[in-house]
Symmetry: C2
Subunit: 363 residues, 2 copies
């Protein structure tokens, strides 16, 4: 199910090359894992955050255009071979910066674009002994914001599993179950429905714990008449889903829970009503916040409205009050207002929506 047709990745690199040419950029060093995968199909994730499994160098149009270089270490020799021409693959040892420089000089490349947020100071210092380095952030991320039809299908499928799990939780969450146990049941449901794994560690917060927007599930037990916030998602064919629901376990949801949930859902609806191509990201946030302001609870809305989602759970655009830019067709974002009170708990409600030519539609 994962996208494996090599022409998809070639086409993306050609789109990137066109952007590079328009911006008069030199060859581009791609270090960030999700960008590398998006452009090459090689390894979605690094071994650890501090352990890269390889870089991609996209060459500008011209005599060497298209002969982009994939570099990795010996552990991934076979994996690279299955994907990339051997003459354009560098299996590096300890001196990877110098080895890269030698090959690229042979292709007439002496300047490299790089993302200052995705290159550490150590690599920067080593690279600048060989190259002119040109800072250029977010070029690949910019392409990734607009999902291709095949990506929309995969995001829809990933979100479909998410709906399935959120529905099933109505029966799964019962008094006596700890947050940790609930988190494991959530993971089982995702995996048994076909997910490759979670897209992030599930958040399960009972009562006051729901007030921590990034609560780690613990030994707190669900009791009769309690609220349970679940924020969870999976990866399916490499694409992430991410939704939040806040459940009531018991016979009779408290009035405060019902009121809070009603407000949060109204804020979500208000935001979704304004999302359409050309509208500023910050206006979507403002639409949700206005609902909370009118009810005098805006101070309890402590985070941004949402974020783009795709190969990463969190990617561009951010729907924060300070966000720059406007919606465009093909973007997929979460819409997840919440209200929190450390002494009581919290309610968050999260959908994934795709921006359409004239509005947005929940996945």
């Amino acid at each position: 199910m994962e996208l494996t047709d090599p022409t998809i990745f070639t086409a993306r690199r050609e789109r990137l090359r066109a952007v590079m040419a328009a911006k008069n950029l030199p060859a581009l060093l791609v270090t960030f894992a999700a960008n590398r995968y998006y452009l090459s199909g090689f390894e979605l994730a690094d071994s650890q955050c501090n352990e890269s499994v390889g870089w991609l160098i996209v060459l500008p149009s011209g005599p060497t255009g298209g002969r982009d270089l994939l570099m990795t270490d010996a552990r991934f020799t076979e994996a690279a071979k299955r994907l990339w021409p051997q003459e354009d693959t560098l299996i590096y040892g300890a001196g990877k910066h110098a080895e890269l420089a030698k090959i690229l000089r042979g292709r007439g490349v002496s300047a490299l674009g790089y993302d200052p947020r995705a290159v550490n100071v150590f690599d920067y210092d080593a690279l600048r002994e060989h190259f002119e380095l040109v800072p250029v952030g977010g070029v690949v991320e910019e392409l990734r914001r607009i999902k291709e039809p095949a990506e929309l299908d995969l995001l829809r499928a990933s979100c479909g599993l998410n709906h399935h799990v959120m529905r099933a939780l109505t029966d799964v969450l019962v008094p006596g179950m700890t947050e940790t146990e609930a988190a494991w049941q959530i993971e089982r449901l995702f995996r048994e429905a076909g997910a490759e794994g979670l897209s992030f560690p599930s958040i399960v917060g009972v009562n006051q714990n729901a007030a921590l927007p990034h609560a780690i599930p613990g030994e707190t037990k669900i009791r009769q008449e309690s609220l349970v916030l679940v924020d969870a998602g999976c990866r399916l064919a490499a694409y992430c889903s991410d939704q939040t629901r806040t459940y009531w376990v018991g016979r009779e949801p408290s009035e405060r829970f019902q009121d809070t949930k009603r407000l949060v859902q109204a804020a979500q609806k208000a935001a979704m009503a304004v999302i359409r191509p050309g509208v500023a990201f910050a206006d979507a946030y403002a639409a949700a916040r206005r609902v909370f302001e009118d009810a005098g609870v805006a101070r309890q809305f402590t985070h941004s409205l949402g974020h783009g989602i795709g190969l990463e759970t969190h990617e561009g655009p951010s729907l924060s009050p300070r966000a720059q830019g406007v919606f465009a067709p093909g973007m997929v974002v979460t819409v997840e207002p919440g209200l929190y009170d450390a002494a009581w708990g919290g309610v968050r409600w999260e959908f994934m929506v795709a921006v359409t030519p004239d509005g947005c539609a929940p996945l």
Copy 2:
């Protein structure tokens, strides 16, 4: 079960402060997630590799020593409050570098040590507008190499779950099962035995796929009379385990499999026989390699012998042929020689061993 006693983290910061004083270092900026957790107990992992959930600044001995600063964003306000004095916590917005500078100037700090491998160029450029930046890599990692008794207990418990799973796999791996299905069974076994999760995505490689040292499980099915390489581990109370076994599914292991396994286990044994305090890391690698050289197959041993393990699956020391340094009591490393042939498959065997005062002992 997780280490939560605040005195553990205070004691680690005091040990770090002593190292900082001895090396005449200024305040130390701790950005890398595992280091931050090791020194503070705050959030073991970042949200994503490109999305930090906070930094820790350890101040040097002197008037402000001990009033170390934890900085995070609003999502983690409550989590920080449960752990850190509010007057030493910075909940930052968009201008985090300037906000940090303002507080630290108030504490007489104008220079910051930082790890060039753990700070990206963007943050570096923003920080150097406010601070003198002093590159100093690996100071916290150096402390983390020597495990405290409580850490050894947790690593033993984590590895204990691993042994349980590896034993269970003898019955679980059956003809008809795909690598993906096997990987999910492995995860279930770990989780149902109490693990928080996997420490890395499991590697399951059938026959030729076992020749990829970092194979992603796919739709290849186990058949009667095939070899299956499993490299898997879990997190228990934050500590990682990591072991590899290569199974034969069927009635009669092939002669090649048996011979290869015998060689790999002999190499592992040879390495473990030399590991003791004072011995060079590279000598452990050499001892394993010599066994393969004597058998004329050294070219099929394509990776290093092992790596340290603790809060991360891969941490120092590395047991590569180029590694500098010597073993010391309290280190925990993997010993994992392997032999690979793309046309046939591969065998790897991996133990975790703790360095003792006079040798090493498998966990």
